[in-house]
């Protein structure tokens, strides 16, 4: 790496997360590794009956409310009342900020919140919160405000690709030199509103989801908060991760059905990868929601981009689909995997069955000295995103 190239490097200076598998990245990753190595182990996801007042049962990975409340009250003695989403977001942001060593209240720091529905559960029951609390910008304000940051935060609400959209927006802010550090927080919490909606789409499976599998029946939902602190650095320490390039493209096809020829996702992949980049790919962390159409579409994009031999996997079998948190959560877990030189098992995948043949990691593998990965996502509204992330 030439010295003058450092100046444009967008580094992950810190990361953190709150998930059903662990209340920080290291614990969560350890649990993921355990589940990856041993297919007989059960995960935190389970079937809920009559939960959230929803008549139909659903399979999901939920964060224990009491556990989160305890963690938050141990962390802060604030008298201000935060929602579940805000608590998890703040805790994950705090972890990331501490690791990065930045001063979060600095004028040179911008907070970006990635969320699809924010505090939407308040629509059914305000629960003593003020009506404005439903607004996504209000949660963003409170999260940034907790850390004493006075810059107006930006909120990205771009369906399932929000996490990647937020990271790309952060990269651009840094390249323009407006800020020195960006705190990108992704969070979504499940509730009747969200789950009933996916049920009305008949998009859910009531068993563990099966990404890329011949018998896949739909997705599992999950909840999480995950944060990355991005900094422009000319001294990225060895072992740290860099966001090399990101791209987003719309299929221009249908608001809820992916393009049958993967137009948008293909453009994302070809835009972010040079031939040299492809040689260093340890794996592609796909969206892999386990719906019939999404997984087929991703297989077509990967195949058309001539990446069909690169190991592919989905993390939805560990976390479920965490909506606005997904892009950030899954990028962090993938970076931990690259650091350990592990190619995680695509949990839930048993027998391959997508439109095009892929090298899905049905078993856990090794990264063979490769240090990059692609995080890709697709979402409602026809949006697609892919980011190339590399370990220095």
């Amino acid at each position: 790496m030439e010295e003058n190239e450092w100046n444009n490097m967008i580094c992950v200076a810190g990361e953190g997360m709150i998930s059903p598998l662990g209340f920080n990245s290291a614990d969560t990753f350890r649990r993921v590794e355990e589940l990856s190595a041993d297919p007989s182990k059960e995960s935190e996801g389970r079937l809920y009956q009559s939960h959230f007042g929803i008549p139909e049962p659903f399979f999901a990975s939920l964060i224990d409310d009491k556990k989160l409340d305890n963690a938050f009250s141990t962390f802060s003695d604030t008298k201000f009342r935060y929602t579940k989403l805000e608590k998890a977001a703040i805790l994950s942001a705090d972890q990331a900020i501490r690791k990065s060593g930045i001063n979060p209240s600095g004028k040179d720091v911008l907070f970006i919140l990635s969320t699809t529905k924010g505090n939407v559960s308040l629509l059914g029951d305000l629960d003593g919160f003020e009506p404005e609390r439903i607004h996504l910008w209000r949660s963003a304000e409170l999260i940034a405000g907790f850390f004493g940051n006075a810059n107006e935060p930006l909120t990205v609400s771009n369906a399932c690709i929000s996490g990647c959209s937020a990271l790309i927006a952060g990269m651009r802010q840094l390249r323009q030199g407006r800020y020195s550090h960006i705190v990108v927080v992704g969070a979504d919490m499940l509730c009747k509103f969200i789950i009933s909606g996916f049920q009305s789409f008949k998009a859910l499976s009531n068993e563990l989801c099966r990404p890329f599998d011949k018998n896949r029946k739909g997705l599992n939902l999950g909840e999480s908060a995950a944060t990355m602190v991005l900094s422009k650095s000319d001294e990225a320490p060895k072992g740290s991760f860099v966001l090399v390039k990101g791209a987003m493209h719309n299929d221009a096809n249908h608001i809820s059905g992916p393009s049958r020829t993967a137009e948008g996702l293909l453009r994302c992949l070809t835009e972010i990868l040079t031939e040299t980049d492809k040689e260093d790919l340890a794996f592609i962390n796909a969206h892999g929601t386990s719906t019939l159409y999404n997984d087929d579409m991703e297989s077509i994009a990967i195949d058309r981009a001539l990446l069909q031999n690169i190991p592919v996997g989905s993390l939805k079998g560990y976390f479920g689909h965490t909506l606005g948190a997904a892009g950030i959560l899954e990028s962090i877990i993938s970076s931990y995997a690259v650091k350990e030189q592990v190619v995680l098992r695509s949990r839930g995948t048993l027998e391959l069955g997508t439109a095009r043949k892929l090298n899905v990691s049905v078993n856990q593998g090794v990264a063979n000295g490769k240090h990059s990965f692609v995080k890709m996502l697709s979402g409602f509204g026809g949006s697609n995103a892919a980011i190339l992330i590399k370990m220095i």
């Binding site: 009305s200 008949k202 249908h254 809820s256 059905g257």
Partner: protein, 85 residues
């Protein structure tokens, strides 16, 4: 049966927001999906809701609906045979 066919046409127009279509425009034997009205996957899901809400018939998924929703006539036949409301 004729009443049900007309009733269905009106409901389809209302539930699927087909504002520029009148009941007379819909041929009861014409395909609803693909050509004809060119309905899509979300429309199919709304028809599943319609079946349950107005006629008490529960369809498990869109695939189960494929034959039922071939045309207004096939819908009417299915409803007549299976309605609980």
């Amino acid at each position: 049966m004729e009443d049900l066919v007309l009733e269905l046409k009106k409901k389809i127009i209302e539930v699927l927001n087909l504002e520029e279509v009148k009941p007379e425009d819909i041929n009861e034997n014409a395909p609803l999906f693909g050509e004809g009205l060119g309905l899509d996957s979300i429309d199919a899901l709304e028809l599943i809701v319609l079946m349950e809400k107005d006629y008490g018939i529960k369809l498990a998924n869109a695939a189960a609906g494929r034959d039922v929703f071939k045309s207004v006539k096939t819908m009417a036949d299915y409803i007549t045979a299976n309605r609980t409301k």
